[in-house]
Amino acid sequence: MDTFLAQFLAGLATGGIYASLALALVMIHQATRLVNFAQGELAMFSTYIAWSLVQAGIPYWVAFGLTLLISFAAGIAIDRLLLRPVRGSPALPMVVVFIGLLVILNSVAGWIYTYTVRPFPSPFPSEPLFGQHYISSHDLGAIGVTLAMLAAIYAFFRFTPLGLAMRAAAQNPESARLVGIRVGWMRALGWGLACAIGAAAGMMVAPIVFLDPNMMSGVLLYAFAAALIGGIDDPFGAVFGGFFVGVLENLLGAYVIGQELKLTVALVVIVAVLVVKPSGLFGRTLARRV
């Protein structure tokens, strides 16, 4: 029982990693109706920027805040500058542009920072809370940050006019324009917020998995799965999906199928869930007029 609890909590810790990146994916989908495959690499690059700031002597939380601001600005810049020429293209060319961006970021990060694995500081104490053996303070802190972001995003979309405007701009750009919403800037705002969320995710993840240019490549698939399982437009779903995937994978590996096949089986389970509920566990099926 003791080990089961430990495995479960370890799953929650890993799940928190997936959940935080999944939130960024949800944000970008809310704003653009697209899944951004480059989100993981953007988060990784933001984390390297944070690392450089800390190396330069800037205190952690100041560096954290600065990185969020820089990432926010970078996200807006990417949307306004990089994506402008392909605006209006169908989905697949956009997806390919994202893939190009992914490859560029990975390569440039490797070039500037080399591929050596580096430790990244954690703002949380290194002794586990209450002296227990199950979960470290950082893991708990990271989960806390993820939940805080979740609350903030939910509140943003549900209670603020800006959030409503962004959703409207994404779902029906024509009508939104007619109502006076500046659709282009809504989308850019979405990009900025997504990159900021990704940066926070990266800074929480790096102390756990160590910082290197390939840090997010393993996480992206799980974050993607988490976002979809929860329903691509639902931040709560994304976080639930993240924890679900983390715990599922751990328990499968420890008790059911062994480590060598746990990835395969976890993916089969996820795809099975999607086949049964194609819009995700919490998603809403849209009825369309013919």
């Binding site: 392909v86 997806v95 390919v96 893939i99 390569s107 799965a225 096949l261 996820i270 194609p278």
Partner: protein, 326 residues
Amino acid sequence: MAAGNLPRSRIAPRKWAALTALFAALCVAPFLLSNFSVFQLTLVLAYAIVLLGLNMLTGYNGQISLGHGAFYAIGAYVAAILMDHYGVPYWLTLPAAAAVCLVAGFLFGLPALRLEGPYLALATFALAVALPQLLKHKALQPWTGGVEGITLVKPDAPFGLPLNADRWLYFFSLAVAIGMFFLGRNLLRGRIGRAMVAIRDNPIAAEAMGIDIALYKSLTFGVSAMFTGVGGALGAIAVQFVAPDSFNVFLSIAFLVGVVVGGLATVQGAVYGALFIQFVPNIADRISKAAPWAIYGIMVILFMYLAPGGVASFIHRISERWRRRT
């Protein structure tokens, strides 16, 4: 919507001339180029068959796939296992790979029916990620050779023809590619092609008109996988080696990039895409030793800026403008 229409029923005489010239060039090339370049061209032919398959699924039928590397791997391993364990002659492994992948693709397509857009992308992405892990598994090791893979021997020219192994394999691949392209073109030209495009453009209307969506979508997956498997088998014979490391996620991503850059929903797009996949990483490596994949990414993005419909549509536009001028 996506660029490219269904192939026209008759090929214009102008096009026949161009195709004949191309064919002649392809036949003469191996005698003018080094063995290494011939090897590279053989890989281009294999990739072209793969991209034709992927294009059917993604371009003509609108189903995104981030997992075609898996079908490529299955085709490659079928060829390798048959040649290495059972001594099957190399040319017989291609129909075998085609059959296995047709079934595998169809079986994957069935549950994937209900998935759209990003959900389908995830499912296919999951397939691409899971397959190498499966290939490494202990239980399959006696067949797959595990992490150390299977080494193959390149076939020699038959009937004592005065061709070295590289050139013979090139001509063999060329024949297979031409055959597959004709097959693909005929499929797309007929009822199946029209049904595919109808499902892509307006699934509700298609269903209302009596097209069995489930059947056609799964069938398209199967046929698409079949083409990819044949390309995989050819690729394995050319490289003379298969291992789980050869078929990582990036291969699937490269295929998707190739098919979009080449031109969705066009037959010639497969060829342009194959050239892109094979040669652009080499070019990028020569431009920048420090960050070659950054150059690759930049080129991908530039291609999308200049020609979101792919190289095929770009060339089409240019040739239209030229024709109108003269």
